[in-house]
């Protein structure tokens, strides 16, 4: 009986010492060097960074567009241009994260061979669904020149979605400028249209 009692006491004492050990073991802290703290709370630092950026791309299965002037069929008519190859619509895709309340815009310009007497126009639609955030406002139809023209304005933090049918639809047309009709020459000018996303402010 005594042996049993002693054994029980021994087990209980062992049990208590385990608990005491557990308390000591649990007393860690953030850096392992500071004195132990008996506290059910602890905290650590965490930093989150978001960088600003802007990216632009064009989508369209055939981005080499060609327009041909069909000779006037009836004497007295002006020359008319029709698209002979390339996608009839291209799509302007972009992604942006803004800095504070600043916004971005997209500009376009045309470079390449002289095309006097001809207007190269692009119609820029409003942004399609499929993106999110503060997408910009399409300019509608504008005449492209060798200097930058705003084609989308007021772009905040957003994305349009990548690919065709996403972002702003671009449709091109070429027409004779009636005020400078006399400058039109029989030629085959080759042009490059460049879109740039840039700070608006």
């Amino acid at each position: 009986m005594k042996k049993v009692t002693f054994l029980l006491a021994a087990i209980l004492v062992l049990g208590v010492s385990s608990i005491a050990k557990a308390q000591n073991n649990g007393n860690g802290n953030g850096n392992g060097n500071s004195p132990a703290q008996e506290d059910p709370t602890a905290a650590h630092a965490l930093n989150i960074s978001i960088s600003s950026y802007s990216m632009i791309g064009l989508a369209g299965s055939n981005q080499a567009l060609a327009f041909e002037a069909s000779a006037a069929e009836v004497a007295g008519d002006k020359v008319v241009f029709t698209q002979s190859s390339g996608s009839t619509s291209l799509w302007l895709n972009y992604s942006a994260i803004a800095e504070g309340e600043n916004t971005y815009k997209v500009t376009a310009k045309v470079t390449g061979d002289a095309h006097d007497g001809l207007d190269v126009k692009v119609n820029v639609s409003s942004a399609s669904t499929g993106g999110a955030g503060e997408t910009g406002t399409g300019a509608g139809e504008i005449i492209l020149t060798s200097t930058e023209s705003d084609v989308v304005t007021g772009i905040g933090s957003c994305y349009t979605g990548a690919g065709e049918e996403l972002g702003h639809e671009l449709t091109y047309s070429v027409s004779a400028n009636e005020d400078n009709y006399g400058d039109i020459a029989a030629s085959s000018p080759s042009l490059i249209v460049t879109y740039t996303i840039t700070d608006e402010n």
Binding site: M1, K2, T5, A9, L12, G15, V16, I19, A22, Q23, N25, G26, N27, G28, N29, G30, N31, G32, Q37, E38, D39, P40, T41, A42, A43, H44, A45, L46, N47, I48, S49, I50, S51, S52, Y53, M55, I56, G57, A59, N93, Y94, S95, I97, A98, E99, G100, G131, A132, G133, E134, G156, S157, C158, Y159, T160, G161, A162, G163, L166, G167
Partner: protein, 187 residues
Amino acid sequence: MKLLDAISCFLFLALFSLAAGAQESTSHNLGIDVPEVALLALQAENSSDLNLHATPPNTAGQQIKTNKEEQSGIWVNYSSIVRENHKRKVTATVVGEIPQGMTLKVKASESRGDGKGKLGESLSWVSLRNGSVDVISNIGSCYTGRGAQNGHLLSYKIELDDEADQYAKLKQSETSLQILYTLTDDN
């Protein structure tokens, strides 16, 4: 010498029989006080700061990349002694302002290392906020072991807020937060 041994032996037997004859059993009280214990600490594997980044997409038109999981290298250690049929949990609270347009999530691993007892269970990914959210549940009487590689390893990630019109609120920013963990009763 033999005589001395004989006397010693006699005295021992005499005393033993006297004691045995005086009382057949005896007892005394033994009180044990097991206090409740609730201790929690965070142990970092290294001293470098924990940084989460939102990065630009690969292609124009795509959304910002945020969902890369980041193992923090920070371990939750705790010791707990509970009353019978009681449980505890670990909650987390953000001190500071999470950048708008995104959600900050944390996941505690299942307990690893030298722990013993009724260790807690991970609640997987949970969204953090400026109020307490449960991260580990079902903690009974246990200890995780002390230091890195013991207890629950924390992982973090940021995700875009799914609610409409939140994307426009994402702005260039550098945000420093404190994440506060508490071992508390789960009643």
